[in-house]
């Protein structure tokens, strides 16, 4: 915990974004997590990404469950909407929020305990339902708040701080998301903002369910030699597959890549997602191939990162349910309660 408040004063050359805000306007309260926690870097990356997207903070809804990860929405986007919900039930609340007002950008933050243990059922079903949101899992493989028990994403054979090995197979949320039908799946590392920030930007602008599994070391309980989620292990075993860069409609495309390595995906708001393949054999539009790749790497103890899968023509829950264009929370009494004649007609349809 930090007792010194972060001063309001900022660098004299701090850049303003297109709507006249700075990165500092996207920060939240000072973190109460342990110093050096990977989750704080993820929070900082979200703040940087939202600032670069130049979306006003009050157009975001942050929703979380329980755990270290789920505390973090307090530490970014201080001027947005937030709901710290029940353990493992963030997906339900996020679904409700998105159904009520699809104009808000929904960011769900969860952890490996919240999503892979108590909330694993909720996780599976929100993927199926295609809720248009960014779902981040701060994945540290341990239960930090209860002093370092193995979580469900901890690799078999990885040891605790005291050297005791984990006996169970891990749940891989990336594989689950790919398998159940998520239209945007990425994995990243809290210690690599160069990769993480563009992924968050692209995920926020993606229409459909976007999932980012962020390996975020727990400095207190899971950053030792036997851990597969420590800063050192991840740095040594990480391989980036596809580099993603979101180019906003007004931005000039500056960097030229060698032909054949670059793919461009048009985003609904007119921006362009540029994908640069680092591994020649990898195709980010092939769901089955991606699944194979992820599983194979896992077997070898490697961590592959980057944008693993994106469906350029994804749909979301509102399209499936054919809801009206106007957000439901903006509909008046007349639209929501069309009267007894309409009810009779509906009932007649079921006879």
């Amino acid at each position: 915990m930090t007792f010194v408040a972060k001063p309001k004063v900022h660098h004299p050359l701090l850049q303003f974004n297109e709507i006249g805000l700075t990165r500092r306007d996207y920060e939240g309260a000072v973190s109460t997590l342990c110093a050096g926690c990977g989750h704080d870097s993820v929070s900082a990356a979200v703040a940087i990404a939202c600032n670069e997207l130049a979306i006003p903070p009050h157009r975001f809804a942050k929703i979380s469950g329980i755990g270290c990860s789920s505390k973090t929405p307090s530490y970014f986007l201080g001027a947005s909407h937030g709901f710290n919900s029940v353990h493992g039930r963030m997906p339900s609340v996020a679904t409700g929020a998105n159904l009520a007002n699809h104009e808000l950008h929904c960011i769900g933050v969860s952890g490996d305990g919240d999503s892979a243990s108590i909330g694993v059922g909720q996780f599976a079903h929100i993927v199926r339902r295609k809720v248009n949101m960014l779902y981040i899992v701060d994945n540290n493989g341990t239960y930090g708040l209860t002093k370092g028990q193995f979580s469900a994403t901890n690799d078999r054979g990885s040891t605790s701080k005291r050297g005791v090995p984990n006996l169970y197979s891990p749940i891989d949320l990336v594989s689950m998301a790919l398998q159940i039908g998520a239209s945007f799946v990425a994995r990243s590392f809290s210690g690599d903002k160069q990769q993480l920030v563009p992924l968050i930007k692209a995920a926020i602008m993606h229409k459909g369910f976007a999932f980012i599994d962020v390996i975020s070391p727990c400095v207190m309980f899971n950053n030792h030699n036997g851990s597969t989620k420590s800063y050192q292990y991840v740095r040594e075993h990480t391989a980036s597959m596809v580099d993603a860069q979101l180019v906003m409609p007004h931005e000039q495309i500056e960097i030229e890549y060698a032909p054949g390595t670059l793919k461009e995906v048009d985003m609904p708001d007119g921006s362009v997602l540029r994908l640069r393949k680092i591994s020649e054999s990898y195709d980010p539009h092939d769901r089955v191939g991606a699944l194979n790749h992820v599983q194979r790497a896992q077997e070898q103890g490697d961590v592959i990162t980057g944008l693993l899968y994106v469906d350029p023509i994804a749909s979301d829950i509102h399209e499936v349910l054919e809801t009206p264009t106007a957000p439901l929370n903006q509909l008046g009494e007349a639209e929501l309660c069309p009267g007894s004649e309409a009810l009779t007609a509906v009932n007649a349809g079921f006879r």
Binding site: V9, V219, Q232
Partner: protein, 593 residues
């Protein structure tokens, strides 16, 4: 870039901008912390050791430290360093026990100090505790030099001046006052082991314009006139007064005239307002007393009727920038005539030593300044040293103290048969961790966003009636402690230990000023552009670490660091630590046993 050598004393010294800018290198943040803690006596002694005249300087210093203050770069106005110094002086307790002891038994070396101004006094203070016999000669009836003769009492009350001057004189100087030195040869014949010339810059410049000779009795040279006011020879000035010049002497002349009964006082300056030599606060004070300052008006002619001055004709010019330099060209407007009965000429002063014979081994340059070694202040005559305004031309009191410390070391080394240059002790550095507990620091790390506090002034009417009423009242203890909190503690350094860093980015994320970046190494020019925030201020160093595990380096831009300690607070491995840097600038005290 190569890794930064933080153990070279000048590296962290430069980060403490105020101390670096102070000619005497006063450890400013250290004494400001003492003031915040109400430890005024200790704050005073830290000052006294470095700059010798805290009470005087707390009212009259030119404040090179304040424009250098980091706060100017992080937001707006600097910490009121000078006024805080005065707080220490005003509220200090008995300092007797802290003063250096002067031995009863003298060593066999005799030193002559020529002039009794701040430079000579400071040399005496440094030499006396080592048993030197110190004889001081001055033309005035009392010690203090220009501090006594040129600074009016409404800025520097007599009791403040006398307290600090007498303290040194009473350490055992053999002072000979009312003694006009007319020949250096004569002085050399007295056979001292070393001579220190601290006779100042006593010649005020004059202007030879048409009519100058005819109106001689109506024109006074500013510094001479101020001196005659200070010693009570002049007690009034009548009629309309024009003060020519734009420096601090001009400001003192106009405000003194106003207090001595002038009907009107006008300051006329050749140059533009912004480029006037006078300190900003001196200009403000003069104007707030209702004295007009007229700029861009070079004088052309003194107008007189039957030998009586009636006024001055001024030309109208405007500044233009040419090749980066200011040039003044006529505006084409007709000349202006300003009526007056008396003129005070305050257009600069020179050091002038007509009493030094040119054939005794002291060489002079083409500006008639003695040729000196800039470090040792030794002239081309090995026994003769210079300091203060007489060394390199008019500066200010704080420079006199700075020169004096260096000259005293040189004199001491020479008297010990050592070389004043090669045997000089080097600067030193101590780093002391400020960590007290998991989240506790030995300094007040929290950033105080308060604006600079205003200093209370004496009642305007009362102060304009009496030249002895001090205008600035100084901060009281409460205002002083509040202003002290604005200090950023730039001497508490961010020290980085490469081998502890796990590159978790916590410091990068928390730093409010975006000072820290982890990046592949590059040339400085390149690095300055790719940091989290660009670092265009080339005067401020980049702190570059050794290569880290990922092959990157940590680069910290020192420019706008608040020294808030958040990087160290958020560091899980203590790779960042806040350490107080104590810079040891050698003084003769360093030799004391």
């Amino acid at each position: 870039m190569n890794p930064t050598d933080i153990h070279a004393p000048e590296y962290f010294h430069k980060v403490v901008d105020c101390q670096w800018a102070c000619p005497a290198h006063t450890p400013v943040p250290e004494y400001i912390r003492m003031i915040a803690a109400g430890r005024y006596t200790e704050a005073y002694m830290i000052n006294w050791e470095s700059n010798v005249f805290p009470g005087i300087l707390g009212r009259t210093c030119d404040r090179p430290c304040e424009p250098a203050c980091r706060r100017v770069r992080t937001e707006e106005k600097p910490v009121a360093i000078c006024r805080l110094k005065r707080v220490a002086a005003d509220h200090k307790g008995d300092i007797e026990q802290f003063l250096p002891k002067v031995p009863k038994t003298k060593n066999d070396k005799r030193i002559a100090l020529l002039g009794a101004g701040p430079a000579s006094l400071a040399v005496a203070r440094d030499l006396l505790p080592f048993g030197y016999t110190v004889d001081m000669f001055d033309q005035d009836p009392a010690g203090g030099g220009m501090m006594r003769s040129q600074i009016p009492a409404f800025r520097l009350p007599a009791d403040v001046l006398e307290e600090e001057v007498d303290l040194i004189v009473n350490m055992g100087i053999n002072a000979t006052y009312n003694y006009e030195i007319t020949s250096m040869k004569e002085m050399l014949d007295m056979n001292y082991d070393a001579y220190f010339v601290g006779t100042g810059a006593p010649r005020g410049r004059d202007l030879d314009l048409p009519g100058r000779r005819e109106v001689d009795e109506h024109i006074s040279i500013g510094i001479n006139w101020l001196s005659s006011v200070a010693f009570g020879h002049t007690t009034s000035i009548e009629g309309k007064v024009i003060v020519m010049g734009g420096g601090n002497t001009a400001m003192d002349c106009c405000r003194t005239s106003k207090r001595l009964g002038a009907e009107t006082v006008t300051v006329v300056v050749r140059s533009g307002f912004e480029v006037m030599k006078a300190s900003e606060w001196e200009k403000e004070d003069a104007m707030s007393e209702g004295i007009p300052i007229i700029n861009n008006r070079p004088p052309k002619e003194f107008v007189h009727e039957n030998g009586k001055l009636t006024g001055v004709v001024f030309e109208c010019v405007k500044p233009i920038e040419e090749d980066g330099r200011l040039k003044y060209i006529p505006t084409g407007e007709p000349d202006v005539f300003i009526e007056c009965d008396h003129i005070l000429m305050a257009i600069g002063q020179e050091n002038h030593c007509p009493w030094i014979e040119r054939d005794i081994g002291i060489e002079f340059d083409k500006w008639d300044c003695p040729i000196l070694d800039e470090v040792t202040l030794q002239s081309t005559h090995p026994k003769i040293f210079f300091g203060g305004d007489s060394a390199f031309g008019p500066e200010n009191i704080i420079w006199a103290s700075a020169h004096a410390h260096q000259a005293a070391i040189s004199i001491h080394l020479m008297c010990q048969g050592k070389d004043p240059k090669s045997d000089r002790p080097p600067d030193g550095l101590n780093l002391i961790s400020q960590k007290m507990g998991v989240h506790e620091w030995a300094y007040d790390a929290e950033h105080d966003a308060s604006k600079r506090y205003l200093v209370p002034h004496a009642n305007r009417r009362r102060s304009l009636e009496n030249i002895k009423v001090e205008v600035e009242l100084g901060f009281d203890e409460i205002l002083g402690s509040r202003e002290a909190q604005r200090c950023l503690n730039c001497d508490v350094q961010t020290v980085f230990t490469e081998k502890l860093c796990i590159e978790c980015d916590a410091c990068v994320d928390i730093c409010p000023m975006d000072c820290i970046t982890f990046t592949p190494n590059a040339a400085e020019e390149q690095l300055r552009n790719i940091l989290t925030a660009p670092a265009p201020n080339l005067e401020q160093a980049l702190y570059v670490s050794e290569e880290l595990e990922t092959g990157r380096v940590m680069v910290k831009d020192e420019d706008v660091c608040l020294h808030c300690g958040l990087c160290a607070e958020r560091c899980p491995t203590n790779a960042w630590d806040m350490q107080k840097s104590i810079i040891h600038i050698p003084q003769l005290g360093s030799y004391a046993e």
